[in-house]
Symmetry: none
Subunit: 196 residues, 4 copies
DNA sequence: AATGAATGAGCCTTCATTCAT
DNA sequence: AATGAATGAAGGCTCATTCAT
């Protein structure tokens, strides 16, 4: 049977609450009770919807990844030149929906979680690979394959590093600076032809 | 009274076990019991030495940071030119003692922990600032102040990003590649004068 | 929402078990586990209902005080003359529901607990004051205010003292003797007009 | 071998610390560590001297009882008439060395402890009986045996009750009032011949 | 659909106690 | 005599999870 709209709404509330709670705490060591309370429902209902804490975690992760993927797709749809495509991917990474203190922390938590949880690792890998192939595809018209691979890896590292560092800044994250850093890296790679 | 050598040894065992356990689990949500058992002592003794779980965590963090600082200092002592100084810092970041799967994960865990724990945040900031000033000092002979600040931030992001990404790779981290990436970033910044 | 009858029953079971356990042990140093087991429920459920050990203690104390207050009220309702009112209060103090070895010990434990626990002290004071004003009110028709205050205090001391002493007697407490002692004190005060 | 004076001093320090700690806490649920620390020695030394927590408790109790017995004996030595003997016993009960907030609480704690600890009960009974026979002996010249027994019991209850009640008063205990209450009780019994 | 009741497991922590020095 | 090291046991409490309603 199809999910009722009420169910969809409840599920979404719970995922939102999970991101918030996990992000604030900077850890998965949060109780289902707290998440459920925040989402305005009983613990038992959260279990009913997601089957368990693991379900909540995986579903929350999936939500974050899906949102990011949409952001990327939307950006790519409006881009025509390779450079525009690259800029779109970078911009998507720091889009408003993602680049907020709490959400950043949640991202990092999931990164770490994937480190020891196979299902989480699988989930993350799917998106990681897709992003990587997006980057390489956009770079191939601009350089040879070897350079493209290195540049993609470097850019991805730059993006992730900016994520981590901005999350830590007391003054809060700044998407503009992060994007500028990444694009600067990219421009330098393009200008120098990746000569190492 | 001075710490006896047996106490020092026990404390170190426990810190090592903590890094291992936290790193493997990718989380601070590990029991003191597991850490203590791994270190070959009773839970109660761990409390006797560290006062509590928080004490263990903070002390473990301090150990990691101190070890990194030593690595940096050792590298800087052998460096003469600015470029060598920069390379030394980068290399220290991926030194063998740090850049191992488990240790990397522990680093990230502490990063996240600082996110919600003031004492951890203070501790981390001390080292973060020192590293930053090391980078800027080494860059100032090579470019103007504004560029130096941007480059330092970018290089730090590149280092952290490489950390995160290498931790996730199924094939395990590769210090050589990470160092190459960071040095490439640096060279490009130097060559182009940071023109954005 | 109103407390379900099952909840009320469970709560009462736990309070009864608490009185028993605390009374037998003569101390608050009893484990929640023991109380809960005796009440036929899990430790976790005890926490669910009472929020913690403190909650159990305070609620148990409240129960004891409430029961005593009811006993007093019931006695006063049947009394018409001042002397009858005084006798009623004395009798209530040694009523069957209160004057049993275990319960007496529990009373003393709570007395002592109030000594170092502000919430317990507050709770106890409310009842102490009410009892005192009951005594003084009943005495005022029989003597002047100054004497009434002294007599009330003396009678209260006599009641408490009988409590303590009877609790200690190997042969167990004897309500009749205790009541006789207290009434004798009272009669002497009335006969001599409290001349000191 | 005889106890060295150093040992005697240490033991006394520990007993004093025990009275203080137990009295403040209003409970035997205090750690040996706290007592020992307060007495300025290590936990292990406390064990060395007293054999265990039980030893500390019993010895502390014994100290309190002995001190009280001395106070009584000293008072009786100066008394010549039966009335003076009775007054001496009452006064000893509220002597400065005993009637202080902390000490009172400690007394009550031990009373309760005797409730469930045979050794403590035995100890207490010895003194209880001696006090009782002191009272009866002093009363026999003034009334017949039956009345003397009742009066002794009543006076003892009055003393204990005053103890309990004064310990609880926020304004602190007042020895003068307590003594007056007890002597008033006694005078009334003597005047009326204990006619019940 | 939704929730309170209920619990076993586990965690952090403290404690009384012993032992080697 | 005196102490730090060391531990098994126990306690209060929380949590993920199930179940009956």
């Amino acid at each position: 049977m199809p999910r009722t709209s009420v169910q969809t709404g409840r599920r979404q509330s719970l995922i939102d609450a999970a991101i918030l709670t996990i992000g604030e705490q900077g850890s998965l060591d949060v109780s289902v009770r707290e998440i459920a309370t925040r989402a305005g429902m009983s613990t038992a209902l959260a279990f009913h919807y997601f089957g368990g804490k693991d379900g909540i975690i995986i579903e929350t992760m999936r939500h974050l990844l899906r949102e990011f993927a949409q952001e990327v797709r939307a950006g790519l749809d409006c881009a025509t030149t390779p450079r525009e495509r690259l800029a779109a991917i970078v911009r998507a990474s720091f889009a408003a929906s993602q680049f907020e203190r709490t959400t950043i922390a949640a991202w990092l938590v999931f990164y770490l979680h994937a480190y020891s949880s196979p299902p989480a690792a699988r989930l993350l890998q799917v998106y990681t690979r897709r992003l990587r192939s997006n980057l390489v595809d956009a770079l191939l018209p601009l350089m040879d394959r070897a350079d493209a691979l290195l540049t993609a890896e470097g850019l991805a590292a730059m993006i992730d590093g900016s994520y981590v560092r901005h999350a830590l800044r007391p003054q809060g994250p700044d998407a503009g600076e992060a994007i500028a850093s990444c694009m600067d890296y990219l421009e330098n790679r393009l200008a120098r032809g990746g000569a190492q």
